[in-house]
Every structure is written in C-alpha cells, then in structure tokens.
C-alpha cells in the first residue's frame, strides 16, 4: 500500500440496495480515476462517500497510508469538491463568492483575474451569481478549483451544462492539474474525450 490515495473494500448500501461491494482502488499523483455507469448506478454516492459526505457501510479510505476518518481535516485540506449544486450564494457576485471560499481552503495564490479570464467569465464578475446561466455557474465552480491549492480534485459530472468549448476546457484544466502532480476523481456518464491514461471504475 504505497499509493497516495487507497480505498480498501468499500461497501455502500442505500436502503436495501447494495450500490457497490468490496470496491478497491489506488490512485497516485498525476493519475485520473474515472467513475462510469448509467444513471442511478451509484457514481455520485461513491464520489460523495470518498469525500466523506456519506458514511460507508464498511471499508476504509487511506490518504498517505493513514485512514481518512482519523485525519479528516488533513484530507479535506487536500481536496476540492465540485458537485451538481455549485454551492454559490445567488445574491452575491462571483468575486464575493470566491473571496469567501478562499477563507475555507488553502489558497493557490493565483491571480483571480487571470483565472476568470482563462475561464472566459471575467466580464461577469460584478453580476450576482443568480443572473448567470447554468453553464456560466459551472465555470465559476471551475474557478474555485483553480483558486485552491488542493491536490485532489473531486468532480461530479463536471461537463454538465457546458458547451463544447467548455467541455474541452475542463479536460485541458484536468490534464494540466495532473501534469502538476495533482489527482482527479471524476464521475461522468457522458462520453468525454480523454486522451491520457485513466483508471476506470465501471458501476453496474
């Protein structure tokens, strides 16, 4: 067990139904883990369980060979989370939202303007998040990932609502993050173009 992130025989039930049983994987810096499966197959549950948002029935997740539940803060410090619900306050502008977020996690000290320009949302920065389209809000969620210095990106359906250009932007950002030695766990049911090596978990 030398990998940075290891999962050992994870089992999760939702109600009576077993979503996955004895699931194990290992992930090292520079690697991408792709969770695939049709709707309702438990992708989101699995990624939420890894992030610690759902209690697992059994099994253990290790970060640096230490169980995550004993060092939740250390693990959370290494992780940034992108879910269906983007997690921004609709009444605040995206800059105000991101300023607030930077107090919640380790800052990458990248210039905010550069990040917003890169994501093509710089001209929207004074508007309240309420008035942005769903796709634009996803781009703001990407800005959150770029602003944090976390190693592990956890993305649940990152390309939802994004246009073609946005989808390829996500993949570029992911591959850059991996090249920096970062790690990515991604749940996706759409066919996404990935031209780098991945670990895949297929959920039934």
């Amino acid at each position: 067990m030398t990998a940075k992130l290891t999962a050992d025989s994870l089992t999760l039930f939702r109600g009576e139904r077993c979503l996955f049983e004895n699931l194990s994987f290992a992930l090292n810096p520079g690697e991408l883990l792709l969770l695939e499966g049709c709707n309702g197959s438990g992708k989101t549950s699995l990624i939420r369980a890894i992030a610690g948002l759902i209690e697992l029935e059994s099994g253990e997740i290790y970060w640096d060979e230490q169980p995550v539940r004993r060092q939740r803060q250390v693990f959370n410090n290494e992780l940034v989370w992108m879910a269906h619900r983007v997690g921004f306050k609709a009444d605040l502008s995206l800059v105000e939202n991101l300023r607030f977020e930077s107090a919640l996690r380790r800052d990458s000290r990248h210039d905010l303007d550069d990040i917003l320009t890169r994501l093509n949302i710089n001209r929207l920065k004074r508007l309240p998040v309420r008035s942005l389209s769903a796709g634009q809000q996803r781009r703001v969620a990407l800005a959150r990932m770029l602003m944090s210095a976390a190693t592990l990106w956890m993305m649940d359906e990152p390309v939802t609502n994004l246009d073609r250009e946005g989808r390829s932007l996500v993949m570029t950002l992911v591959s850059e993050h991996l090249a920096r030695g970062g790690m990515v766990i991604m749940a996706a049911h759409q066919d996404i173009q990935i031209d780098f090596p991945v670990h895949t978990i297929q959920l039934q």
Binding site: Q73, N76, R85, L92, F100, A103
Partner: protein, 232 residues
C-alpha cells in the same frame, strides 16, 4: 504531524468569513431579517390593546408577554437558517472544508444572533413602555433577553440543522427545541417580574448566564454533527 504538512486555513478566519458572508447576505435581503423583529413588535403592541388599559394588568403581564413574543420571534427566524445553504450546495462546500465544521457553524450562529437576536434586545425597552415598565426594570429585561437570545440562537441552530433535510420541518423544529427552551422562558420572564417587584434578580441572571455559557461551548459540536447527518 510532520513539519512539511501544508498549512491549513485558520479557524478564526473561516468562522469570521462565514459570519461576514451571512451578514452581507442579510444586508442584501433585509426583509428576511426584519420579519422576526416585526412579529415581536406586533405581538407586544397588540397585546395591551387587547387586554385593556388597566395599568396593573399590563405591569403584571408585561414580562411574560415580551418573553413569549421574543421566543416565538426567534423560532420564526430559525427555520431558514440552513435551508438556503443546503439547497444551493454551499453547505456541502463547508462540509468538505478543512476548517472544522463546528467553527463554521458558530460563525453562522453569530450572524444569526446579530441579525435576529440583537435587534429584539434593542427594541425591547421601547415595547416595554407599552407595558408601563419602569426604566430600572428595562435594564433587567434587556439583560435577560441578551442572554436568552444567545442561548436560543444556538439551541435553535441545533434544531434547524437536524431538520434542514426535511421539507416543512417547522413543527418538528419547534417540538425539538421548545422543551429545552422552557427553562429560559421561565427564568427570563420571572427575573423581569422580580425586578418589577423590587426583588433580587441576581439568581435568575446567573442561571441565564450559565445556560448561555454551557450552550455556547457545546452547541457548535452538536450543530456540526447534525449537519453531517442531514446532508447524507
């Protein structure tokens, strides 16, 4: 913990950021904040009109009515405490933050108290006048409400955190926290009555202060645990 561990965001910084954000949001939507205050003012001004102008009766019922109105106004404001965070996903972002959830919850409660508890304390003397409350009693009224609303904010946050995942958890929230809030109501109203009668009030104030200290030190952890369960 080794030395090369990357530094974590500060506890106080995270707490203040949450408090500041919630205050800013309240500033942008003052209607939500003014609702409980409006309710408090309405109950306290309508009551004297209903019971009639007898000075004796008003002086007798004043402390009780003001305290009940304050308690219900606080309950009214608690429902929405975590709902918007839950719905837009920012609660999840707080759950996966390295800043302990207890600190972030305390930040939210501080903002809640500043926007719903403190205004009640400030307008209480004005409403006390409608009950012919003498100036010396108003000080005691404000002090009991100050300590009481702090406890109610934290106590109610536990209930709000437990019921955030349920739709229409209002009734359940009241059922959950009212039994725990009863001592506050009894001691709060009674202390003000004693002050009006010219009696010693230290005992009641000490009890309210002790209750506040206990709940300030324990509630953040209970809120954090409740939020984790609710968000599963």
């Amino acid at each position: 913990m080794t030395d090369n561990q990357p530094e974590m965001p500060g506890l106080g910084r995270g707490m203040m950021a949450v408090a500041k954000r919630d205050l800013f949001l309240a500033w942008k939507r003052p209607g939500d904040v003014l609702n409980p205050l409006f309710f408090f003012a309405m109950v306290a001004t309508l009551f004297p009109l209903a019971v009639g102008p007898s000075a004796e009766q008003l002086e007798f019922s004043g402390p009780g009515v003001l305290w009940v109105a304050a308690l219900l106004a606080m309950l009214l404001s608690l429902n929405s405490l975590f709902v918007s965070d839950f719905e837009d996903g920012s609660l999840e972002q707080m759950l996966v933050s390295p800043v302990p959830l207890a600190a972030l919850s305390l930040g939210k409660t501080i903002a809640h108290w500043l926007t719903s508890g403190l205004p009640l304390v400030i307008v209480a003397p004005i409403l006390g006048m409608t009950f012919r409350m003498p100036a010396s009693v108003m000080g005691v009224l404000m002090l009991t409400l100050l300590l009481g609303t702090i406890s109610l904010s934290l106590l109610g946050s536990i209930g709000a955190a437990l019921t955030v995942g349920l739709h229409r958890g209002t009734a359940l929230l009241s059922l959950l926290i009212l039994p725990l809030a009863m001592p506050l109501l009894i001691f709060g109203a009674r202390t003000v009555s004693l002050a009006a009668a010219g009696d010693v009030v230290a005992g009641g104030l000490y009890f309210l202060a002790a209750y506040a200290v206990l709940i300030v030190s324990l509630a953040p952890f209970a809120i954090a645990a409740a939020l984790r369960i609710s968000n599963e």
